[in-house]
């Protein structure tokens, strides 16, 4: 039977790329979440849902 991708190749890919993917994504997310200048945007966002105005802006 013809194998399109060998099991070993797939395992190698999962074990290398998977690790890089995990670490890089974690770093990017942490940087985004803790970027100091983002503080105001996040504060505004969390307060935005508490406005009593119940109609669309347009």
């Amino acid at each position: 039977m013809m194998t399109i991708v060998a099991h070993d190749t797939l395992v190698w890919f999962a074990k290398t790329f998977g690790l890089i993917y995990l670490v890089v994504l974690s770093v990017v997310v942490l940087c985004y979440a803790f970027w100091p200048s983002k503080q105001k945007e996040f504060d505004d966002a969390s307060a935005s849902i508490l406005k009593k105005e119940d109609r669309p802006w347009q």
């Binding site: 979440a33 945007e41 969390s46 935005s48 508490l50 105005e53 119940d54 669309p56 347009q58």
Partner: protein, 553 residues
Amino acid sequence: MLSKLTKGEREGGLIILLAMTVIGLVIAIAGRGDPISAHGFLIMLFSMAVAVPVMRHLFDPEPSRDRLDSYYDDPSKVGVVLTFAWGAFAMFVGDWVAWLLVEPNLTFSGAWSSFGRLRPVHTTGVIFGFGGNGLIATSFYVMQRTCRARLPDQLSPWFVLIGYNLFCLLAVSGYMLGITQSKEYAEPEWYADLWLVVVWIVYFVLYLRTLSRRQEPHIYVANWYYMAFIVVVAMLHIVNNLAVPVSLFGAKSHSLFAGVQDALTEWWYGHNAVAFFLTSGFLGMMYYYLPVRAGRPIFSYRMSIISFWGITFMYMWVGSHHLHYTALPQWVQTLGMTFSLVLLVPSWGSAANALLTLNGAWHKVRDDATLRFMMVAAVFYGLTTFEGSFMAIRSVNSLSHYTDWTVGHVHAGALGWVAMITFGALYASIPWLWKRERMYSPALVELHFWLALAGTAVYVFAMWNSGIIQGLMWRTYTENGNLAYTFIDSLVAMKPYYIARAIGGLLFLLGALAGCLNLFLTIRLAPGEAEAERAGSGPAYGRPSAAALQAGE
């Protein structure tokens, strides 16, 4: 309600419904002799039943442009009613099968009422019928408020809601007819699956179009969770349901996968259905309704972002913990176990975020059963995710797997977390949607809360006991190396716990019925906006402030 649709939307809707009626008729005729024929008739009758009121309002005048000044909430209202209806139906079936395990004769002689068919009716009914409608109804509500943008059109939300309920009907009626592809939580056959793909794509596009109409640059985090729910469920549903139908007009199909690949695909789907259907969407609910109801912003917006990416990334890999000690390669099992443990961090991040938000509002939790529903949901979310990570450890799993402990774990999540947060969100939305001051009876909400909490506690404790006893009996050996107990011995030992579980489920069902009654009374009898205005007490929420401004000009 239908007069609010524009002429074009009414005509478009009617064309879709007529096309579906024809398709239903074709399936019914071409599929005769096969169970799919019954579904052809169901599609036809369903489409015709929806088409009749549309036709009656077809020539109504165009709606006024005033409608664009407020959010489009009609689909949310119908969605809320459907959520309660599916909840009552599916929880009833759930309690029925619970009693069936106590007394196997509590059934009818027909095959449709056998345990094997009723059990998926219960699971599909609660997960997709109750949970799915709750998610759709609240997502329409939340996306409009957080974007401060009206839904871009009035037809596609109806298509999503009604189309989704057709899928649920096809699924549940199919099981009773004996139509199933035998994949847990993905039982519906290929044609129902294809229909859901169409509905889901419209849902996704609708969400994106609403987001694109927002004014604020930042998208509030609840929308991220709802979006993850929509995107990932589409992905899971399509891959896991890849199958080849035996014939174009027959219900039966064969999965594209076989053996251990099939098992892993199924549990990749199955556990991510827990993650993205039963967690992500409901976290979206929590991140909107809990802060709004408590009147306090979320404790840490940053933590909600980190939790979001943690959950989104890590849940993807944990499905293999369902397949410990199987033919699945050991490293894949270990991967699933490890990620399950790491997952505790973002899960507890969200649970802690919710509870810390309530700091300073605990007096409201004491007085307001609606907020208390959400608080208890957050506690159960924390407990269940801890338990889940623990059960994913291979050696723990060797005790817990195949026992009632799993059932208890699932219900701690489904009753304690999913249903509680849904009821909290619905009790918050209902007065806001129908422009009422409050629910008709706060006492009934209070009653519902205590019945739900008592039912969950009784259920979960019964299943912990029964599951651990079961697991221990199955692995106890005599000194000769034989099994000490037969399977029947363990079954007999389960009986008291099965009775307790069925009573717990009954309490939970009674609570849901109290909710249905309260919903009915609120829609029918609670003081509306006009009466409240006359009495000088405006609705607590929902009055557009611009109107007040105009009065002063």
